[in-house]
């Protein structure tokens, strides 16, 4: 890995961690566990399109692990990890068919997959299949949040592209 790439990834990870930590300070959007904006996903989506799939996965993994430590809730880590893994496995292949201008599409599907992963982990941990009842609520909130983060990442990408192409 070149020094330039390493620096790039470190910066992206730092940015993602800051967003992650700041978002945790905001009051919860809805009184249902698992519903959040997931703003740090902007960085994952951006890294996916700007650099590449493996780099995006690396940045996300580093952010989730460090974010879990900084957030002080290690028990929450398993949900974030499960969600991120599923989300990445949906978003990474989508890059091949979806152009940057439509980045909100992998954003939506990735967020929905994130919530599915969280539910699967929660069902496994609590051994309560009834938690699947949360799936529609979480998927719906994921669609909205993913649309938002996807649009943000897309705008960032196109703007940076225009600047660097000049």
């Amino acid at each position: 890995m070149s020094a330039k790439k390493l620096t790039q990834l470190a910066l992206l990870t730092a940015a993602a961690l800051i967003i992650h930590t700041l978002e945790a300070l905001l009051p919860a959007l809805a009184p249902v566990p698992g519903i959040k904006l997931g703003l740090a996903n902007i960085v994952t989506l951006f890294a996916l399109y700007w650099i590449g799939p493996w780099e995006a996965a690396l940045v996300t993994l580093a952010r989730v692990l460090l974010g879990g430590m900084f957030g002080g809730s290690v028990s929450g880590l398993i949900y974030s990890l499960a969600g991120s893994a599923l989300s990445l496995s949906v978003m990474l292949p989508l890059k091949k068919i979806v152009p940057p201008g439509y980045m909100f599409l992998p954003g939506i599907l990735g967020a929905a997959a994130h919530n599915l992963g969280q539910i699967l982990a929660a069902v496994a941990v609590t051994r309560t299949p009834g938690l699947f009842m949360y799936l529609p609520v979480l998927v719906f909130s994921g669609c909205l949040a993913g649309l938002f983060t996807g649009l943000a990442a897309g705008a960032l990408y196109l703007r940076l592209k225009r600047k660097t192409d000049k």
Partner: protein, 124 residues
């Protein structure tokens, strides 16, 4: 060719949002069931009436922490918890049969019992 695939992905997104949105709307309908079940780790630790004329507190202690559950004339809610996120407390009273109160860090679930048989059958 590429456009066709993008349109397909877009259709999947719209469909997903629509289905989950409608399903959410339907599942948020409040339910009134007269019995509640509290489980930890999938095991039933308390079964009882969903309302109590005299406020009744159930304290659930696990190795991970403690939740105080209040059952009163309105219904059941988590009064306090020592978990970091407190989302179980913020959920307020148990309203819907489809949205049990959960405390993920303590693996605690509070749901309506009785007719929501699927949940019971699995946890027993």
């Amino acid at each position: 060719m590429r456009d066709k695939k993008v349109r397909l992905v877009l259709a999947v997104c719209v469909l997903l949002a629509l289905v989950s949105g409608i399903w959410t709307y339907l599942s948020l309908k409040p339910a009134s069931r007269d019995s509640i079940v509290i489980t930890v780790d999938g095991e039933v630790i308390y079964e009882g009436s969903g309302t109590e004329s005299e406020p009744k507190r159930v304290t659930v202690k696990t190795a991970d922490g403690e939740n105080v559950i209040l059952i009163d004339s309105i219904g059941v809610r988590v009064e306090s918890a020592d978990c970091p996120d407190k989302s179980c407390v913020r959920m307020g009273y148990l309203k819907s049969a489809n949205l049990p109160i959960v405390c993920l860090p303590h693996r605690l679930v509070i749901s309506f019992g009785g007719a929501s048989g699927e949940l019971d059958a699995v946890s027993q």
